[in-house]
């Protein structure tokens, strides 16, 4: 009996010890930086932070919990930086209580993929994409699809649209694009991570959408560029603002960001004006507080964070293309440099260069 009692007491004390340990502030070691956020750039960040650890000995722990969660954690000041696919709105920044800097790290894109007999290389116009997802174009041999694809024979088959059922940055970029090219889409559906889809089927994650497209003949959906490239899925050429049908690729996505942008880089580059840019592209950002002296953060810690950011936008860029992410174009790197330099500790710039 006594033995059992002791065991129970031991268990209880262990439990409380564990609780106490877990509740101590996580920002303890200056040799380890903490980040959380977007899942889309996670493989890229993993490679980056792993390389950074091997060259500098600074460990970066990034939790891919989703953009929303990353912003939440930054607001609660439990992480050094957040990662997000959608830039924070003015309202979100004002809720955070202090100015926030967005550092672009790479670009992603959304491709239109499909499953029709023979899977020919299709060309598609923005209006047709919007009308297919609005349920207004329902057949593959619709005149408007055939007009953009001279010489391609398409069957008299229903188009089943497949979209992401989980809230996702991919959906946000895609719907942002559709809002820009279709007034009806903007009015009826709008832009966001989760939408009220007028028609079609939902599947969870890129693998879910890709799997369903393979399973349903006559289906059409959208997935991330990196997923489509990695799985050799057919991708439609999309007509951009300049009237060019652009094939989604790492180069054409980088080109899409080759436009004049605001100094804070908070910009949507969908429907880009760049003549050879792929129109459904977007940045992904790391977000940090501009003034880094908060919650008792030490200067060395802040310095290693800023050095990391500097490294990501320079040396880090070479790892992007191999992992099917589009690297930042020169213009964007220049803007990002200015932003990293603007980070301060107690009012003083951290990076003197």
């Amino acid at each position: 009996m006594k033995k059992m009692l002791r065991i129970i007491l031991l268990c209880c004390s262990l439990w409380y010890a564990a609780c106490a340990l877990l509740s101590t502030p996580a920002l303890a070691s200056d040799k380890e930086l903490l980040g959380a956020g977007a899942t889309f750039p996670f493989p890229f960040y993993q490679k980056l932070f792993d390389t950074y650890f091997q060259t500098t000995g600074i460990k970066v722990n990034y939790q891919a919990i989703g953009s929303g969660g990353g912003i939440q954690q930054l607001k609660q000041k439990t992480v050094d930086f957040g990662g997000t696919d959608a830039f924070m709105t003015d309202k979100e920044i004002s809720e955070a209580g202090a100015p926030i800097v967005h550092i672009p790290t790479c670009l992603g894109a959304v491709v239109i993929t499909y499953n029709v007999p023979g899977n020919p290389q299709l060309r598609i116009t923005p209006e047709v994409i919007a009308d297919i997802f609005l349920g207004k174009i329902t057949k593959w041999n619709d005149k408007r699809i055939l007009d953009a694809n001279p010489g391609v024979v398409l069957p008299d088959m229903n188009i089943d649209t497949i979209h992401r059922s989980d809230g996702s940055g991919t959906t946000a970029i895609f719907s942002d694009y559709l809002c820009k090219v279709s007034a009806e889409w903007k009015e009826r559906v709008g832009e966001g991570k989760s939408l009220n889809w007028p028609c079609g089927l939902g599947a969870k994650g890129n693998p879910g959408v890709a799997g369903l497209i393979k399973q349903v003949p006559g289906s059409l959906g959208y997935v991330e560029l990196l997923y489509a490239l990695g799985n050799n899925m057919p991708c439609a050429l999309v007509k951009n603002k300049s009237g060019v049908f652009v094939k989604p690729s790492i180069e054409s996505v980088s080109l899409a960001a080759d436009v004049t942008m605001p100094d804070d880089t908070r910009v949507s580059i969908t429907n880009t004006a760049a003549p050879n840019g792929y129109p459904i592209s977007g940045f992904t950002w790391l977000v940090v507080y501009k003034e880094q002296q908060y919650e008792g953060r030490t200067k060395p810690r802040v310095e290693s964070l800023v050095k990391l950011l500097w490294w990501v936008i320079h040396e880090g860029q070479q790892f992007a293309a191999a992992l099917d992410y589009a690297p930042l174009p020169q213009g964007a790197v220049a803007k990002a440099e200015a932003l990293v330099k603007s980070i301060t500790y107690a009012g003083q710039p951290v990076l003197q260069q």
């Binding site: 009996m1 009692l5 989980d166 809230g167 028609c199 089927l201 599947a203 879910g208 399973q215 349903v216």
Partner: protein, 315 residues
């Protein structure tokens, strides 16, 4: 009931044998031990209360914004902040009850087979362990199996009967759920069936009843409430099932037109949208759906317990 009574009186006899020596010391440590156990047991109740409280508190903004219209509206639009949960409620109830209807014949057959025909032997233990294995398979595996095997089958069926051949939808999700809950319903039912007193069965046989007649007239009526309770409890599992359903239901937030239409369930919408929800009202509405899901599960479980209680009085 009788078994447990017998056990506890036995225990009392054993413990009384110990008590005369070192009564005081034993008493003190006994008290501490008892208190510790009570504390740990109570912590479960506290945990439940805290969970319900969390759901209620966090869904207050949703109640303020959408009120009770939330339960009758069919529009779920995070962009324009219109939130209604009727589509998900209908999806959950439809998939669960169709799954139940599909699983009952199988569960009942297995239960009769194990409880009445083959109570022991290699074949019976083989079947029993197969069923246990089936119960232990993670739901994501069921989902994958459904996506790759069931969906094409369902599509060819849909082509034959002339509905839109998506392959995924309420019916596909129900079939997966049905397969998932068979082990639960079957094992509870076979326990109940094997508890039917043999004197009753012998009486029926001695009156000239065949085995089939005996099962029909004695075994089934006697164990009906127990089987119903087991089925209801497995229904509780079907209602909360998320992963396998999400993979094959089509995740369409539109009121289903037929049992082959794509739809969505409460558990599935929460799993899909909660992670990336940033708007406070969106989060609150998802939590409100969680509260609704909990309430529905509670009702199902309570009615299950009620029927079990009725059954034991019957005995």
């Amino acid at each position: 009931m009788q078994d447990s009574l017998f056990c506890s009186s036995n225990l009392r006899r054993i413990s009384s044998g110990f008590s005369p020596e070192g009564n005081n010391v034993q008493g003190a440590s006994d008290k501490v031990f008892r208190a510790t156990l009570t504390l740990i047991a109570l912590s479960m109740v506290v945990l439940l209360c805290v969970m319900v409280m969390t759901l209620v508190v966090n869904s207050v903004p949703a109640f303020r914004a959408t009120g009770f219209r939330f339960f009758s509206s069919t529009t779920w639009d995070p962009v324009f902040k219109q939130y209604g949960s009727l589509v998900f409620l209908v999806g959950t109830l439809l998939t669960s009850f169709i799954a139940l209807a599909l699983s009952i014949p199988f569960a009942l057959s297995i239960a009769l087979f194990l409880g009445e025909y083959y109570r022991e032997g290699i074949f019976s233990s083989l079947l029993k362990s197969a069923i246990e294995l089936l119960a232990g398979i993670p739901s994501v595996i069921y989902g994958m199996w459904a996506l790759f095997v069931l969906v094409p089958l369902m599509r060819s069926l849909q082509l034959k009967i002339g509905v839109l051949p998506y392959g995924i939808g309420i019916m596909t999700a129900s079939v997966v759920l049905g397969v998932m809950i068979i082990p639960y319903a079957a094992s509870i039912s076979s326990d109940v069936i094997s508890m039917v007193p043999s004197d009753l069965k012998e009486a029926a046989l001695s009156l000239g009843a065949t085995r089939y007649e005996m099962i029909k007239k004695v075994v089934l009526p006697y164990s009906l409430s127990g089987i119903a309770a087991g089925t209801l409890l497995s229904l509780g599992r079907a209602i909360g099932e998320t992963m396998a359903v999400t993979m094959v239901i089509g995740n369409s937030n539109i009121m289903p037109e037929s049992i082959f239409s794509p739809a969505n369930t409460m558990a599935s919408i929460i799993a899909n949208e909660f992670v990336e929800a940033t708007d406070p009202l969106h989060i609150a509405c998802l939590i409100k759906i969680g509260l609704l899901l909990m309430a529905v599960t509670l009702v199902i479980n309570l009615s299950g317990t009620y029927i079990i209680k009725k059954m034991s009085v019957h005995r």
